[in-house]
Symmetry: C2
Subunit: 356 residues, 2 copies
């Protein structure tokens, strides 16, 4: 594969010196971009877009044409694994992801089989290969999955939820069965991420969107433990270099030290914590990724630049920071604001890397 | 007024010795109780129920008849103040609260007037008086309001929101106008809580439901600062004893030290933090209220008792803890589970107060 010309992301995730802070944006290939909406309309649905390697690669590359981003992330969904297990992923209009066949009894949990990534998830591997060809060494490509607990939430509820009543009832009343499901998910995700790395993913990220709804104790037992299982089992080297692993629990700032201790290279943080405080709390254990409030992206150039400045100053000198939002970019973001963000991060961060 | 026979709540909120940990439940007068639903049906709507002092007092007392709770909380809503400002509170079926006339321009914010609690919010004061007569000294009565920021969220959005895009855009792009609104809310809430205390509220609580959606810096500037303004300005004594103030920011565990420093007597915590850790972090600054995951209430007696035991053990010996859920009780809770909770807290907490 072609030589990587911009390795700032990988270096920052490994806490190695960089000339400026790398930046990418969660959901950077998304509905705020008119060209994305055109491709999606052509595909017919989100799932059809995701399952077409050529169209998935097309939208993955779109934001790179517009903005000086330091990474691409393969266009996909956090729920590909349960879909490959046969649960039937779909998106109801105006709602989040849903499953046609949610898990509603012990038998359906016990009979889950681990998907074969080379067949059942072939479309993701093909999308990764096609992305790598299209990116041609310009920036690294990130692969990802939802976390075992987040997958379990959707698998049991059948969709999003205000309170995750079904999931939590299972967890509280039949912890053994819940652990069975989470272990299955963790093993499936490990195999899946290994396959993504083999196909060309140069960093991988675990999205734990719903771990933050758990109590401190239950988070460790039912979410963090399985993130650790994955981090400890996947292949973390390819093409002669390290493949960094990022873990991100939305709403997990209160547990930051525990998350930083599971062996991942980097921890994503949302905007509820000051990034300088987060850095003091994790010490030199991990790099940090984040953490602009996505709603700032709805404002204007001046506000975006001010907020970028605050985050960079708070993080301070040296490497170990990947700039990102604290959650996915919203569809109502004016595209030019992403350009302002990326350029501000690059220009204003140089002074924090002087001598690197 | 009649002598207070059970003052455990007030004593624990002031960190004075108690014989057992007091317990009450957020939204304890609510839809999980069939008798509540009957009264509500008679009233015709939530707002009609809230605005009828006799029916509001009736539902306030209902949970006390069933369970050995250590407090009553006047049946009302966190949004009475903006309703009294003329915004028109209503509840759409199956949704949260909404306003008929949300604030959509600077003029509507600048022309807000402070409600007169003795006229515009008379129904709340009358409900408090009637509750006190009905409770007849059995337990203390808690008064409350939403926080200035939480009120602003609903006033600007017109209802709940996934991301509070309007509120945040105003905050980021016109902070001065946002501060004007928050100061108005804080002054109105202070007057309102003073009137509740004069009418008979023996403790007051500020519900900051949406402060947790802010960044660390913005939380301090746009929510906590105004909680502090209220805490510093209200009357905190009545009937010859202290009226404790509880502040509760849902999702605020990461900012616990800052919240504990504003001068309130007690801080509510949700279940994302271990209560023992919370106690170590706040030291002897404040009492703590919380923090069972409300979803535990959907399970069974054994699970509830186990979870109660964990929280009591984690808090440890001594006073300064009021047991509660970390959020309102859900409507699907079997009522008998509240009885199991209350009795477990009382019985199992005695050993932590030995010698008191």
């Amino acid at each position: 594969m072609s030589t990587l010309r911009n390795d700032r992301l990988l270096r920052a995730l490994m806490r190695q010196p960089v000339d400026q802070t790398p930046v990418w944006v969660m959901r950077q290939a998304g509905r705020y971009l008119p060209e994305y909406n055109q491709t999606r309309a052509r595909a017919g649905s989100f799932v059809a877009l995701m399952k077409s390697p050529s169209m998935a690669a097309e939208v993955t590359l779109q934001p790179l044409d517009r903005f000086d981003l330091d990474a691409a992330i393969v266009f996909s969904d956090i729920l590909t694994v349960p879909d490959a297990m046969g649960l039937g992923l779909y998106f109801a209009e105006g709602e989040g992801p849903r499953f046609e066949r949610p898990l509603r009894d012990a038998k359906s949990i016990e009979s889950l089989r681990l998907p074969d990534p080379d067949t059942d998830l072939r479309y993701v591997m093909d999308a990764i290969s096609e992305c790598r060809r299209g990116i041609d060494g310009k920036v690294p490509l990130i692969g990802f999955s939802g976390s075992p607990f987040t997958l379990a939430c959707y698998m049991i509820e059948g969709g999003g939820s205000d309170d995750f009543a079904r999931v939590k009832q299972l967890m509280y009343t039949d912890p053994k069965l819940m652990h069975k499901l989470l272990d299955t998910n963790a093993r499936a995700i490990s195999i899946y991420l290994d396959a993504q790395i083999a196909a060309g993913a140069q960093a991988v990220m675990l999205f734990d969107t719903w771990g933050g709804t758990l109590s401190a104790e239950r988070y460790r037992e039912f979410s963090l433990r399985y993130l650790q299982q994955i981090v400890g089992s996947i292949r973390r080297e390819a093409e002669g270099r390290k493949v960094p692993v990022i873990v991100f629990t939305k709403g997990g700032a209160v547990w930051l030290e525990a998350i930083a201790a599971i062996g991942a290279d980097a921890v994503g943080v949302d905007w509820t914590i000051d990034i300088g405080e987060a850095r003091r709390r994790v010490g030199d254990k991990v790099a940090l990724q984040g953490n602009l409030d996505p709603l700032v992206m709805l404002t204007n150039r001046e506000t975006i630049e001010d907020e970028v400045e605050k985050i960079l100053s708070s993080y301070g000198n040296g490497s170990g920071h990947v700039f990102n939002l604290g959650h996915g970019i919203t569809r109502f973001t004016p595209p030019e604001n992403v350009g302002f963000l990326v350029d501000a991060v690059h220009e204003r961060s140089r002074r924090f890397h002087a001598g690197s």
